[in-house]
């Protein structure tokens, strides 16, 4: 009898333990899937809240912090303004620092950090363009040094060139080969697990298409 109770208890514990990580996988997958349909600032705000909640429960997982920062960064590119951008970028930077401490020298985290830095330019492009553009480029450089085949690193570099006026060293022509490289990397890319970063392919295609268009 004791053995049975012991066995049942053990089973019960293992089930709860299993269901715990199962739950993490499930919740993460569910929300990562929602990223594809997110469009507005409010959509990303909701998802950022979700990932932040998961991050506060799963303090040892870097991915919830990563995705929380990703959503915050997307809010900046989808409607936030002025001081809101700075405050949101501050928040994303904290989340990325945490992710970095859990998963040091990770190219994905670096790429996101470069994007957050780039987002700060929008507050005042005239006065901040040079400073933050350069800083963002440096971080991206470190990311490429770690993983020279990371498609999101080239997407970010290409995107920056795409939106930088020709006069300041950007433009579609300059962006095109970088985006092409990104697209090649996307074709070979396989995420380590279904939870790992795997976004941006569609956006890369969209930008490349824009590069093809007659100016």
């Amino acid at each position: 009898m004791k053995k049975i109770i012991f066995a049942v208890t053990l089973l019960f514990i293992s089930i709860t333990a299993f269901s715990q990580s199962e739950k993490y996988m499930q919740v993460m997958q569910q929300n990562i899937a929602l990223l594809d349909s997110a469009k507005s600032k409010d959509d990303y705000q909701k998802l950022a809240n979700k990932f932040e909640m998961i991050a506060s429960k799963e303090q040892n997982q870097w991915l919830p912090f990563y995705y929380a920062a990703f959503c915050n960064q997307m809010m900046c590119y989808n409607g936030l303004k002025g001081d809101e951008i700075d405050a949101t970028c501050d928040k994303a930077d904290v989340q990325l620092t945490k992710a970095d401490s859990l998963q040091p020298k990770n190219a994905e985290i670096m790429v996101l950090k470069a994007r957050v830095t780039g987002a700060r330019i929008m507050v005042s492009p005239m006065t901040r363009g040079a400073k933050y553009g350069r800083k963002s480029g440096e971080i991206l450089q470190q990311a490429m040094a770690i993983d020279s085949l990371n498609p999101r690193a080239y997407l970010t570099a290409g995107q920056a060139l795409f939106y930088t006026p020709k006069m300041f060293g950007g433009g579609k022509e300059k962006a095109k080969p970088v985006l092409q490289k990104s697209a090649d990397c996307y074709n070979k890319f396989q995420p380590t697990t279904p939870l790992h970063p795997n976004w941006g392919k569609g956006f890369c295609g969209y930008l490349l298409m824009q590069c093809e268009e007659k100016k």
Binding site: S124, M126, Q141
Partner: protein
Amino acid sequence: MKKLLLIFFALFFSILSFAQTKISGKVTDGKNPMVGVSISVKDSYDGVSSNNDGSFSFETSEKGEKILVATFIGYNSFEQKIVCNGSPIVLNISLKEKFNELKAVTISAGSFDASDKKRATIFTPLDIVTTAGSAGDVTGALKTLPGAQQIGNQEGLFVRGGEGRETQTFIDGMLVRNPYNTSVPDIAQRGKFNPFLFKGTSFSSGGYSALYGQGLSSALVLDTKDLAEQSETNLSLSSVGIGGGVNHLWEKQKMSAGVSVGYFNLQPYYALVPQNIHFSKMPENGNVEVNFRKRMNKNGFLKFYAYTNNNALGLQRPDINDVDHLKTAFDLNSKSLYTNLTYSGMLNANWNINAGASFSGSWDKINLGELRNDSVLDYRSIGINSSNTLSQGRVVFTRYTGVLSAFRIGAEYQYGWEQSKFTSFGINPFSTYQFADNFTSTFAEMEYYFNAKIVMKPGVRAEYSSILGKENVAPRLSVAYRLGKNSQLSFAYGDFYEKPDRRYLFYTHDLNFEKATHLVLNYQRIHNDKTFRVEAFYKDYKSLILTPLSSLSLVQNPSNLYSNNFDPTNISNGGHGYAKGVELFLRDKKTIKNCDYWISYSYLDTKRIYSYYPSEVQPDFAANHTLNVVFKQFFPKLMLGYGVTYSWASGRPYFNPNQPSDKFMSDRTPDYNVVGMNANYLTHIGKAFTVLVLGVSNVLGQNQIYGYRYSSDGTHREPIGLTASRFVFVGCFMNWGVDRRQQQVDDNLK
């Protein structure tokens, strides 16, 4: 039985675990609903974001005592204990705004901040160079702000009924003795420093901090840039001269150094565009700038900056006393040096140190003379060899307390040397006037935030000047109170002292500091890239230097700094005066796309008795009404921008020797109306990022009259105005930057 019990128990347990607790409610910021707030049960996967009306509702399978958390960016997070037992929970949550730099109230009375550091900027360094009519001069752009006068015949910022010398310039905290090129009679000179040197510009039109002193009216506080952003080479070609420079940023990005040279000569330009006065020596200016910046350990930063120039010109005007036969001549040869070494860093977790040393000097050779029949210098010529040096040391300790509050304490020492040697009639040896002053000051200031809504900044400054043998203690106080999300009220009070001008101290040391007391009340609203300010002020002047002449007929051209309108045996602190007024400022970067405009209006009522004045009158540098409209537009697709500035000022008093002394300064010049325009085009020439600039001052060619020069018998006069009806500037600025980043991206593509 036992098995049954176990099954039953397990069943019950699992049912229980499926029982959900519904949590719902509404989130507000105290008044309005908040959208997108994260509400969750701590340490669980259960949570939701609030809807457009602030409402939220979700279910949790958690059991027992838990903590509900609500968070939103910029707000303090909300936590409350809840008991999850299946019965619904309804919560109304009110979030409080976090106390941080972005949201906190700032002291705005009397001050215009312009840096990238403070994100709620009003005036940025880029604004300075793109302001039409400013000719890329810091002072030129600041003149379009409320409180400043449009003075065209003397350099400096004339603020709220104050003279140009009442505004002091500080670079990285250190006083700049000679911020402008040496004065030339009736022609305003440019500031020496390039606006791109500075990351921040803070212009105070009154009630400024106890950290600064010796300006009766105003302080212009400039902070130099940190490390160079990249290694680069610059070249500029313009209608007035050429310049070039290199900057190197070391690879680890801890150190940068640069040197630049400039040479300006107006001969080619004046050959094309005739001037109203004859230049016997074309204005010529050569300068060299050096900078070195190093990031040290422990967040320390070391900066060194040096500037030296050599400036020469000669001009001749028909002498109003005998236009046909006589000319007055002015020749200037000037050398100057400015150096500045500063260190800032944290001493420990709480204390920050700012220490600096500076040496500067100016050495001028001036000849004033009369020319007969265009030939040689007449016997009446006067030579002036004028020089000054200022050596100073300064240290400020800052202790940060709480979120934003800070306590500052510091001291400075200045050794000033002033000398003028005069020779007259060409044969007499030099007579020398000189003095040295050991000037010390100490100051303390507390910037205390009671909360995000109220900040108070009391301060005190004590100064001692050895030449005067006198000390002063100046209290200062600023308060700001936030009225709503975007608006605030601010108040400033302070006493300000300044040493008498050197030309009086050459004759007597038995003088005291001049004194001004400021009261400033300011309302400011910043919302959606729109700024609106109203400011009222009252200023009381005491102990101004008074040197009455026995007769007004002895007064020479008063606006000319080299005319000695005083009696050396009769100098006292007997002058006094007041200034009061209201100023409006409106800036809008939002309404018209890619456009930025501001409108400033100043009303000034001021009178003073000082200098040679026989009675208390409105001084000749004060206009009652000043209006500036500055407009800028940029077309990103064309990479083309333009700007227009319109300035208007009501007529200023001038001295008319024909008036009886009870009508002293009762005449007014015509109104001042000026339109300036500029255009810039960004492009590439070869590999160089290039900016082409066109600037035109006084586009409409209106006649500007700053005052009149009278003949000694008062029968003839001529207006003091521009040297030419228009000034056109054409320039090309090229930059070759070494952007390693792009190079590396390209390498990866191979």
